[in-house]
Amino acid sequence: MGPRLDGSTMTDHGITGGVHSAPFQAWLAPVARRAEAVVLPLMALLVGFAVFSLFLVVQGKSPAEFFGLVYKAGFGTAFSWQNTLSRTAPLLFAALCVALPARLGLVVIGGEGAIVLGGLTAGVLGVALAGLPAALALPVMVAGAAVIGGLWIGTVGALRYFRGVNETIASLLMAYIAIALMNHLVEGPFRDPASLNKPSTAPLTDALRVGDIPGWDVHWGLLVGVVACVFSWALIDRTTWGFAARIAGGNVGAAQVQGLPVGRLILGFTALGGAFAGLAGFFEVTAVHGSANASLASGYGYTGILIAFLARHNPLAIIPVAILLAGFEASSGLVQRRMDLPDATTLVLQGIVFVAILISDTFYGRFRIFAPERWSKP
């Protein structure tokens, strides 16, 4: 597979010792090594914003007005924070669906399919179990959404491992299939006859709707998403499975020689990513829409790809990056109306930032300031 996707800055060189203040350098060296993975993406983000600003200037629009409005509508008030954080929840899950397989060197971009099917499963189960108490029905809906999402993306991993099918193409094809399947089921077998303009499953009862975090005006999906990110970080950074996955992501052949269960790792990490994406669908249906319909395919899965790459597939870094991009999405409506921009403006900005972050890959290891062992050399 391609170059390092994990963003690790592992070097086994010791500190070769500076001539001057050694203790200070000993303290600074690990900071400098870690800083590379933070500073370069931030620089790339700024360069991306600068190029986008140039694009706006050429169009005769004001970048200052654009970013000012994004700040105001995305982060300026309590209401805009609430809007931003509500959109953050599905993005956290969608980004994990990219970041977890990426640890194994897999580029999975079809998380949208698992979101759609997870949401559909939650909606259908919610209708079927409407008579049961919520304490019984909700866990079944959660499990159903996660299992379907896990199976969907796990299939991508299985195809990769057992048949050598390219996971990038397969996952995106399966996303198209998932959306078609959802449209078919929502307009056919599972359609609520009362939904006229927008075919949907029957609305969930109030007992099965997921509410807000007390005192926050933001639904529980945000908290569960943050927990999922911390859990994924611990899995990757603090367990032997995560360590094995990183080795397998670097070199599958070497991992197999070491006796690592590459197949189980691929299946496990893709399925876990898919299960998280399924949860995104669960929260979209139970906390936002109230029934499963075409609104499930609203592009969170694709924004999640960009978030995971910006976070360099580090689950903890996903949290701030997802909030940032959610702010841009939350403000897009206002920005477009005020500045008379087409709604594709967000897509242009995302594309430019995505290209910039990928170009920044070429600068890793080029700057001496991040490599303590080279500090003392002339």
Partner: protein, 306 residues
């Protein structure tokens, strides 16, 4: 439709295959050219959409559909050039760049294409091969667009180029071994960038066909993954341009299945027929991939098969 009975369906699929296959054909030929040089461009979906928009816009502004096709080719070459230049940098992931260029291409197309959703641009001409028949269905099915014929000729020309010309040999050497190419005094990065740009031009023309002939208008839902399916189709066709021609017809037929059934009154399960091309693509990917050895015919330097 009643006088043809059940035969209306295969006839509609044949006609549909010829109509629907042209974008697949152009994108897959472009991808063959790129991948034979050892690089993959997953961003051709974005190039296709941008080609469709720019072709439609220029055709509307100049009144000439062929000016639109040229503009789409130029825009596609530009996107390919950017992709090629970025991928020439060390340690840059060509698959991820493809995804980013796909998002950027679609974003720019929707951004600049907004004013052209309403206006009507002139269509590309078609040649009627159905003059011998009295049946309107046969005539409709054999209404063949000029670009389809050009694509067919281009498939054979590319095949011949790879087989018998110096340029073809150079591209193949670069694609099979960077080291061997360097030893021959070639510059792999430059040749790959040029091959990616040329491949982008093909994809742009495929997009112009979408907006200027079939379906023949510009809107944001014009392409739904045809560019991506064409990339999968190249693996199925084993990097052989002539096999791409056949595969494009097959995929076009699958894409025409839904509308063909609808035309005879079958509307049940519309969305499932709509998914047929994706299922078919996934099926051939599974059938033609192999977990152990490199695929026959695959360029040695290609990242997806290594």
């Amino acid at each position: 439709m009643s006088d043809l009975g059940i035969w209306a369906v295969p006839l509609a699929i044949l006609g549909g295959a010829i109509r629907v296959s042209t974008p697949f054909l152009f994108v897959s030929l472009g991808e063959v050219l790129t991948e034979r040089s050892g690089r993959i461009n997953l961003g051709l979906e974005g190039t296709l959409v941008f080609g469709a928009m720019s072709g439609y816009a220029i055709a509307f502004l100049t009144g000439s559909p062929w000016a639109g096709v040229l503009a789409a080719a130029a825009a596609g070459a530009f996107f390919g050039l950017i992709h090629g230049l970025i991928c020439s940098l060390p340690r840059v992931n060509d698959i991820a760049i493809g995804i980013a260029m796909m998002i950027l291409g679609m974003g720019l197309a929707f951004y600049f294409g907004k004013p052209f959703v309403q206006p009507v641009a002139p269509d590309l001409p078609a040649i009627s091969f159905g003059w011998w028949s009295d049946l309107p269905q046969v005539r409709a099915a054999l209404q063949v667009n000029v670009l389809f014929l050009i694509g067919g000729v281009a498939a054979f020309a590319l095949w011949w180029m790879f087989r018998a010309t110096r340029v073809g040999l150079i591209i193949r050497v670069v694609g099979d071994s960077t080291d061997a190419a360097r030893a021959m005094g070639l510059r792999p990065a430059l040749i790959r960038t040029l091959a990616t740009a040329a491949g982008g031009a093909f994809a742009g023309v495929g997009g112009a066909y979408l907006s200027l002939y079939y379906p023949g208008s510009w809107n944001e839902g014009l392409s739904s993954g045809q560019g991506l399916m064409a990339v999968a189709l190249v693996i199925f066709a084993r990097w052989n341009p002539i096999a791409c021609f056949g595969a494009a017809l097959l995929f076009g037929g699958a894409g025409a299945l839904g509308p063909a059934l609808q035309s005879v009154g079958v509307s049940e399960g519309y969305y499932l027929y709509y998914a047929a091309p994706y299922v078919l693509t996934l099926g051939v990917l599974i059938a033609t991939s192999s977990p152990r050895q490199a695929m026959t015919g695959a360029p040695g330097e290609l990242s997806i098969t290594k």
